[in-house]
Symmetry: C2
DNA sequence: TATATTTAATTACAAAAAGTAACTTAAAAT
DNA sequence: ATTTTAAGTTACTTTTTGTAATTAAATATA
């Protein structure tokens, strides 16, 4: 495998948001801040991977994690500005899916 | 894992174009019809997976495969209308990548 | 004090997908 | 018969995912 890529930034974007479940997680978060279990229930993703993906998205600055020290603990995830900036792209894919699938 | 998904069509789209390398393969084909080796050289994808992905994309009707019986054989891949319809979404991601990565 | 409850994870292990490199096929030129 | 070249395929290793059980934390309850 060579390492020449036409557009390294697009490659990184694809690697990030093209990772399994990530697109759907972001789509789900377009509806607003949500807690861990809400996202887990809304998507066919297991807790293990949801946790992993949310960590990646947080690290990349697309998602913000907020802990509320209630009983039991409540953790809410929401899109940052960088994450919300993907809304157009996601809506575009959604619209393609509606028209072509 | 549950199976309830807000938008089954978006889920399918994400499963398809979110598969590793698929986004970049489509992006590469936006430049026009290209042969197997051209795509393989342009992207950090191995022949094994490129072959697999192109087959999936052909099966889903996003890509067309044309064989030219020259010596040695020439095989060209190009986007169908359905595939080209993704251009907006891909450009959108590209533009996000430029602005945010 | 010990046990129960609830959300948000983490761990352990099996299964599937991806990475890597060598090999095969086909068709014609030497 | 051997060589050449593009387009794959195969065999094998490594990484990622799927699944289910387990842990952590903070309080309420017996």
């Amino acid at each position: 495998m060579n390492e020449t890529t036409l557009c390294p930034r697009l490659a990184k974007a694809m690697d990030l948001i093209g990772k399994r479940w990530t697109g759907l997680i972001l789509y789900q978060l377009l509806d607003g801040s949500q807690r861990f279990n809400e996202i887990e229930s809304a998507l066919p993703v297991s807790g293990r991977l949801l946790s992993e993906r949310l960590k990646e998205l947080e690290k990349e600055g697309l998602v913000e994690r907020k802990v509320y020290s209630e009983v039991p603990v409540r953790v809410e995830y929401s899109l940052t500005e960088k994450g919300r900036a993907l809304e157009g792209a996601i809506r575009n894919i959604e619209s393609w899916a509606t028209n072509w699938l």
